[in-house]
């Protein structure tokens, strides 16, 4: 055997082993578990299509899926709008640019668990900061996390706040590639600031917007710690997320087969939603 071949295998053997044990095996076993019933204590048994049938008619699972779409319907547009606005502001000649950028990015580095605990306090009905601020302008206290109508929107706003700095960086990178000459040419044509934004900046930022939509959608489907800490999935299951439901099935009900089935279904749903979004954005661009 060539020495180079041997070195190659020696150096990559740990990685190959890791991929087999912690990537390939779990992916295959996820598909096996779909057809199994297993509580981790007694021996696993074959369940046929029981898990799939249960999933198809499980009101709580579909409630969680619907909740995710409510979340995404608020979170994704809000994320694009806020990230774009902040990136456009940062893209001007500015004093203290590094400071502003660092301030916007701060929540990104903070643990989601801590952010959830902090916003739980901010959203608290009686002593929460937000209701205290609203009281200053004469608004009655809003039960943000205990009213089924406001709980999920409140979480969506919080997640947008936490992640916006990340998406600002993506948009800023895109803005750097828009040539000055382009800006100046269209300015000479007498275009207003709004026209410049609508007909030049926004279309040129389309790749970044697609990225923001895709990443924030995938991120939204992974929603877990926020409802886990803040609402436990309530009120009236309006903040139950798919991952929280998966976790509950595995951890509280010991239903490994069903929890794995939820995981597989979620992966499929994410794939379909992201593909549809790309199609839609692509056709909007062509039009």
């Amino acid at each position: 055997m060539r020495a180079e071949e041997r070195s190659g295998w020696l150096l990559t053997a740990p990685y190959a082993g890791f991929l087999l044990a912690f990537a390939a095996y779990p992916i295959v076993f996820a598909l096996v578990l779909v057809f199994m019933r297993w509580d981790l204590v007694t021996a696993p048994s074959f369940a046929g299509l029981d898990n799939v049938r249960l999933l198809a008619t499980d009101a709580r699972f579909w409630r969680a899926v619907a909740n995710t779409f409510v979340f995404l319907g608020i979170h994704v547009p809000l994320q694009i709008a806020t990230a774009l606005a902040l990136a456009l502001a940062l893209n001007r000649p500015l004093a203290l640019r590094a400071f502003w950028r660092a301030a916007f990015f701060l929540p990104v580095v903070i643990s989601g668990a801590v952010v959830a605990i902090l916003w739980n306090a901010l959203y608290a009905t009686d002593v929460g900061l937000i209701n205290r601020l609203l009281a200053q302008i004469g608004v009655a206290p809003v039960p943000w996390l205990t009213d089924p109508r406001t709980a999920m929107p409140a979480i969506a706003v919080m997640v947008t706040w936490k992640n916006v700095g990340f998406y600002v960086i993506i948009y800023l990178a895109g803005l750097q590639y828009i040539p000055r000459s382009c800006q100046e040419a269209i300015e000479l044509e007498g275009a207003s600031a709004w026209q410049r934004f609508w007909h030049l900046t926004l279309p040129l930022l389309l790749p970044q917007t697609i990225l923001v939509v895709t990443l924030s959608t995938i991120n939204g489907f992974q929603l877990f710690i926020e409802p886990y800490v803040m609402t436990g999935g309530g009120p009236l299951r309006r903040t139950l997320s798919v991952v929280l439901y998966l976790y509950t099935n595995a951890f509280s009900y010991q239903k490994m087969g069903y929890a794995a089935t939820i995981g597989v279904a979620l992966a499929l749903i994410i794939g379909i939603v992201v593909a549809v979004q790309r199609r839609l954005i692509g056709s909007a661009e062509a039009a």
Binding site: E4, S7, W9, L11, T12, P14, Y15, A16, L19, A21, F22, Y25, P26, I27, A30, L33, A89, R92, L94, W100, A102, A103, F105, L106, V108, V109, I110, S111, G112, A113, V114, I117, L118, A121, D126, V127, L129, R132, W161, N163, G165, F166, I169, I170, L215, N219, F224, I225, Y228, V229, V243, L246, Y247, A250, F251, M256, A259, A260, G263, V264
Partner: protein
């Protein structure tokens, strides 16, 4: 007109910055207030107290959790750097059968959502008897596909002539990696280190699955359990436990913000 627009710009930026910073300042100050003061908007406590921290420290093993988190995050970061650069080196500088397959597998892994493998991985840990061990917290994170791809991307650009002449001098592959590639790759290694450490430091779902014993819990896990189980008892105590997790990060971030932003934005990590 021009001045007006500048005032609007800086006014807007200030409002935005306050929105992102003020909640954390409020959090820090709330932990120093007695319970009846927590709901107030002022940042300076009328009667500052360390009671929240005393209560928190007495009711749950936060010192131990801090040590657990530091140990787990450091081990994972060291492994991702060492093992990841060995892998990336072999994938760019050595010709061997299976190299392309390894490459394809690395990209495939990135496309599979974590929720798909979460439960099978958990059952694997149970069957290995690793529940309530450090191995469960560390093993699934020893390699990181994003890190390998970033290192690969950089290693590819190092001229082959450097490798060739080192081999002529009789240097082994590992020596070439650690004495020639590593010094050149410092910025990439730093970026990989930051997002790996932060990802591990803030991770909470995986520990919630594989660790039940309090003394093995990581910090984000313990403070979640503490806040939920009612152990905290008050907002001030709950927030105080959050401070233990946040303060080291904020201090590091204050000094290295540029690297944090480049690293975490580059790797697609969002907390």
């Amino acid at each position: 007109m021009k001045t007006l627009r500048r005032v609007a710009l800086y006014g807007g930026l200030t409002i935005a910055a306050v929105t992102f910073i003020y909640p954390f300042l409020w959090m820090a100050s709330s932990t120093l207030k007695p319970p009846f003061e927590v709901g107030t908007l002022t940042l300076v406590p009328d009667r500052p107290t360390l009671d929240n921290y005393r209560v928190m420290w007495a009711r749950a093993p936060f010192g131990r959790a801090l040590a657990n988190s530091a140990l787990v995050a450091t081990t994972i970061t060291a492994a991702v750097l060492l093992l990841g650069s060995m892998t990336a080196y072999a994938m760019t500088r050595l010709r061997f059968r299976g190299r392309r397959l390894l490459n394809a597998a690395t990209i495939a892994v990135l496309l599979v959502p974590g929720q798909l493998t979460l439960i099978p991985l958990y059952t694997l840990i149970v069957r290995l008897g690793w529940v309530d061990t450090y191995a469960a917290l560390v093993a699934p994170y020893l390699f990181n596909a994003t890190a390998i791809l970033m290192l690969r991307q950089f290693f590819v650009q190092i001229p082959q002539s450097l490798v060739d002449s080192a081999r002529m001098d009789g240097m082994g592959e590992l020596r070439i990696l650690f004495t020639i590639f590593w010094p050149l790759a410092k910025p990439v290694l730093a970026a990989v280190a930051i997002f790996t450490f932060m990802g591990s430091w803030n991770e909470v779902l995986w520990p919630l699955l594989v660790v039940r014993e309090q003394k093995l819990m990581t910090l984000p896990q313990l403070l979640t359990v503490f806040a939920l189980g009612g152990g905290a008892g008050s907002i001030g105590v709950s927030l105080a436990s959050g401070m233990v997790l946040v303060v080291p990060v904020v201090v590091a971030y204050a000094f290295l913000q540029r690297y944090f932003i480049e690293s975490m934005a580059g790797a697609g990590i969002k907390g």
